[in-house]
């Protein structure tokens, strides 16, 4: 057991945790932030993607102990004053989701892309979303949503 201090979605949290707890489980089970999904649980599908100090990571393969002193942003932390993030709006507008299971991870990954590449082309978007799998195979609209968001962010 150890004590960790993490800023999650702008809120400082200090909690006693077990050494082997994963960030995905911590977010969902301890903080009830269930927007972060666990799909494969083996860091392949990307449903669990969150931002750690601004960079996208797979929370199912990140120890909470490793996050001490860090900032974490989850899908719940994107909207402000009840207004959706541009990327969320864009996914909605372009119907960039079908069942919606992969969506939180897709949105978090896509935002990280635009932080690093403001105006990505289609290939760059597809390459970046390599680590996010949509089993409804709705990639066309996801790519369209990211492209549109890029023009607005």
């Amino acid at each position: 057991m150890a004590n960790v201090n993490i800023k999650i979605n702008g809120k400082k949290i200090s909690k006693e945790i077990s050494d082997n707890i994963l960030l995905s489980d911590f977010l969902r089970d301890k903080l009830l932030l269930t927007g972060t999904h666990i799909g494969c649980d083996t860091s392949q599908c990307g449903a669990c993607v969150v931002h750690l100090n601004g960079n996208s990571v797979k929370s199912c393969t990140t120890l909470v102990a490793d996050c001490d002193g860090c900032e974490v942003t989850t899908i719940e932390g994107l909207s402000s004053n009840g207004k959706m993030h541009v990327m969320q709006e864009s996914f909605k507008k372009h119907h960039g989701l079908q069942c919606g299971f992969c969506t939180p991870g897709m949105v978090m990954s896509a935002i990280d892309l635009l932080q690093k590449n403001k105006n990505p082309n289609e290939q760059e978007i597809r390459d970046w979303l390599e680590g996010n799998i949509c089993r409804c195979t709705g990639y066309q609209n996801i790519v369209a949503a990211v492209k549109d968001a890029a023009s607005k962010m």
């Binding site: 050494d19 083996t42 990307g46 990571v57 390599e130």
Partner: protein
């Protein structure tokens, strides 16, 4: 997930001191954590080495490029020093796994793990790298011993990897479309004194292809690879590619690497 004690070291000395019994050093954890989750490995202690300052520098000179072991793939891919000094190495880092893996996974972790299909081991062999540990300097030629096996002793920690700056070089990979691991990866480097060709993804461990090295030493061109006969004997054969297919792809990747050198 099986339980373990998590400890953080702030210096190499401390990391070695904390290491005992069934310990493992934890950098990005991109292989270590899934292995523990899948119960392929179990440790009593994980020693976090990411806070050790000495492991996170990149230093370039005209002769060599030294990269700290705790540097992430994303940092190597975007490093101005790496892009200027050995651009093929930055491109290699940019093609590992996916962006999230690249944001966490480290060069030292990749090399210590020595996955038979990992990219960095090929870079180490082709670029005549020296692996600096807390105890010694190990030439890449002696470092990679077999499947997931290296020359590292228990409790020995990689501090940095020093690559020779080549005259020109290129890495070409035929990736598994799902994992981005190399089904076949070929790294060609024209160094000051020799030409080195390293192949990954094909056998149980990365290796140098002496036949292609010789052909390229005689004539550094794509056509000189045409007539080489690569035997598929001992090559990996799985659902992704047969041994014969891998033998064929080695030549295709080598030619592509020569053309992009």
């Amino acid at each position: 997930m099986k339980s373990f004690n998590y400890k953080t070291a702030t210096s190499t000395k401390e990391a070695i001191k904390l290491f005992s019994g069934r310990s493992a050093f934890l950098a990005g954890g991109m292989t270590l954590l899934p292995a523990i989750k899948l119960r392929l490995a179990a440790y009593s202690d994980l020693i976090n080495i990411k806070k050790i300052k000495g492991l996170s520098g990149i230093r370039a000179s005209s002769k060599s490029l030294k990269i700290g072991s705790a540097i992430t793939h994303a940092a190597v891919a975007s490093s101005k020093e790496v892009i200027k000094s050995i651009p093929s190495l930055a491109l290699l880092a940019d093609g590992i796994g996916d962006p999230q893996v690249r944001n966490r996974g480290t060069i030292g972790g990749s090399i210590a793990n020595n996955d038979p299909a990992a990219d960095y081991p090929a870079a180490c062999l082709a670029l005549n790298a020296t692996i600096h540990t807390n105890k010694r300097k190990i030439p890449a030629d002696k470092f990679f011993k077999g499947m997931f096996e290296t020359d590292l002793k228990k409790g020995e920690l990689i501090e940095a990897i020093e690559f020779e700056v080549p005259e020109k070089s290129s890495y070409t990979k035929f990736p598994n479309p799902a994992s981005r691991y190399a089904i076949v990866g070929v790294y060609i480097a024209k160094l000051k004194k020799e030409i080195r060709v390293a192949v990954t993804g094909v056998e149980s461990c990365v290796f140098r292809c002496k036949k292609i090295e010789k052909a390229l030493t005689d004539n550094f061109s794509e056509s000189s690879i045409d007539n080489i006969n690569i035997s598929s004997n001992g090559f990996n054969s799985d659902i992704h590619a047969s041994a014969e297919y891998r033998a064929h792809i080695i030549k295709v990747m080598a030619k592509k690497a020569v053309s992009t050198c």
